[in-house]
Amino acid sequence: MARMKFLYDAERCIECNTCVTACKNENEVPWGINRRRVVTIQDGQPGERSISVACMHCSDASCMAVYPVVCFYHTEEGVVLHSKDLCIGCGYCFYACLFGMPQYPRAGNFGSRGKMDKCTFCGGGLEEDNSAAEFQKYGCNWLADGKLPLCAQMCSTRALLAGDGDVVSAIYRERVVTRGFGSGA
């Protein structure tokens, strides 16, 4: 299997934030943390565009390169996951990530960082698939059920695509050809 990827179609995104809500609700993401967020440029102006951003599950991930305790790993599907048992909350991955995606729950009253939290491509973690322990640490595991991340499944306009990189890029290519070049695609 090729690598799992997200692909955003800015022409289709209507900034409804369903992906954000679906992720937060399904994974019971802690207060103050968003694994996914919708970014809008030129808001209210001609040429306004929105994209939904989460961990990009980079093939050569910078977070993996800088982490001092090497808690990150690639699954066989190319999803970048991390072990919360090994994470020390140092924050290096946040500074290294090009998309600012690693998030840290507040662990104490003095602003100390807890274990890092980020998008898991709805792939759970190291614990037994769909177990309570896995859900508590990493959220749901839709991949184990043969399903794609909920953000992509819930996207009403299919602006957010998820899956095998070859498949989603073929879908996007077909869209671009159909609607023509020069439309901002």
């Binding site: 299997m1 001092p68 305790v69 808690c71 790993y73 991949l143 059920d145």
Partner: protein
């Protein structure tokens, strides 16, 4: 403080240090203590089965609408 008591205290302190260091062994901590740059040291992930991967591929193709 009498010299004998000082000696006893030193020996006790050394014994406590030795016991403390001995408890730092990897298998007693339940987590890796020695890290190799660029090598993930945690427990292994469970790979998806062929059936799960086939279902994911089908789901991916269904997005083309």
């Amino acid at each position: 403080m009498p010299p004998a008591l000082t000696t006893v205290l030193k020996i006790a302190a050394l014994a406590a240090m030795a016991a403390g260091l001995a408890s730092c062994r990897d298998h007693e901590q339940g987590r890796p203590l020695h890290y190799e740059q660029g090598t993930y040291g945690g427990k292994a992930d469970t790979p998806l089965t062929e059936e799960q991967q086939r279902a994911l591929r089908l789901r991916g193709r269904m997005q083309g609408m």
